[in-house]
Amino acid sequence: MELLSLREMIARHVKPGQMLALEGFTHLIPFAAGHEIIRQGIGDLHLVRMTPDLIYDQLIGMGLVRELTFSWGGNPGVGSLHRLRDAVEQQWPRPLAWHEHSHAGMAAAYTAGAAKLPFGVLRGYIGTDLPKHNPQISHVECPYTGEKLATVRAVNPDVTILHAQQVDARGNVLVRGILGATREAALAAKAVLFTVEEQVEKLDAPMNATVIPHWVVSAAAVVKGGAWPSYAQDYYPRDNAFYQQWDEIARERGSFRAWMEHHVLGTADHRAFLQRIGEGRAAS
């Protein structure tokens, strides 16, 4: 593990054309890292996430995404991801290839990836149209019972990027609260990057806490508030109001571009981004 600035971590480890997973199920979504990818304009990406959420809406809308593997592509509790829809429906700003799973299928694909098995097994996709459209879904016969079960091809990202609460002096990372498929996405990847709320001498980790040991972490960067508008348990809550505002911001291409230019491309780092959000809120 090496501790870097976010800019350097992204520049050194994320390359055009890679398969990237920025995971975190509603919780601990690595927004700051996604924004830094946008600032550096790293494109032609194959993005993987169970729930693309706002951060992938932004990456897609900025034209950095070639392919998307996912299982639910909405704005949670609000509605559509308008930039994702525009890419799928109108190929704007570029065509998007997509590979669609159910949550159970995606979870099995990450789990197989973490275990370095070429496929995962589930009793899934029964009576659905998804297997017709996704060749990563197939079937296998149980050698004991003869039952036909669904399989999914393993997902092994080039780089998985996660956000977490703490990193300690040796580089161990603590993740607390809702985990989603973060551990599986981390262990399935060739390289694992973390943004964290803070560096501490010793993790605030009781026995059986979820800790990613330092020797599986490629690099980490301290980015306070790095999951905002998603949240970090015990640090700050989910900004549900922003998720609702995003519906309006992203609905039109023009308002989306203007917002991105002002808030992301127009700021040097995540602190400046948050300050700009704050300015907007103070003005309204």
Partner: protein, 260 residues
Amino acid sequence: MSYSKDEMMTVAAARLLTDGTTCFVGIGLPSAAANLARLTHAPDTVLIYESGTIGTRPEVLPLSIGDGELAETADCIVPLPEIFSYWLQGGRIDVGFLGAAQIDRFGNLNSTVIGDYDHPKTRLPGAGGAPEIATHARRIFIVLRMSPRSFVPQIAFRSSGGFFEGGDSRERAGAPGAGPEVVITDYGILRPHPVTRELQLSGIYPGVDPAAAQAACGWPLAIAAELEQIPAPSQEHLDALRALHARTDRAHSTLHPLPL
């Protein structure tokens, strides 16, 4: 006592949950109904959200399926892959509560696309947890407002299976759960015919004309031999639901300080 169509629908859904039921809940009306049941007549309802929170007791409705409130009030938190393997596929869910964009007469759901899959007119969020919830939960409750655009003769894409092509086609496909037991709409309640498995209007809300329900359905909706008159929401349920929504609106419109 007046109440809205959504209130009637939410209370009707909540009343179907008996105490002690283990319930796999999606966001929106299902979450409101399940929490209403827990806050009123069924305090020991076990709520499971696909984010991995088991036995949550949120004070306000979550906006997302992974709000911190769910983690803080849970009996335990497990990794998401485990929710789907050990808990859902593991056969530990009594009731799966689903919504969708479209439903057909056999309770199959579409939440994926309107139009052609590869070149959709409207791309919807997709299936999420629904396909395997629909397969594995012992019983499936569906909550959906009725209109000819949502209750359709033919769904564009089958995101999750109900009774497939009807009759015993679900059982023959090997799905362990019993399939859709009830569809709660804003007109009344639909249940499958015991043999054909086609959804029929089996209960109607106070003051609603069954013909209006039929007009709101995109296929010729049959009416069950015995049409239940569903009672209006009780004051207790209405009060609890309104208080829940008020708390929720307050919480979701609160501007939290930025983590600067």
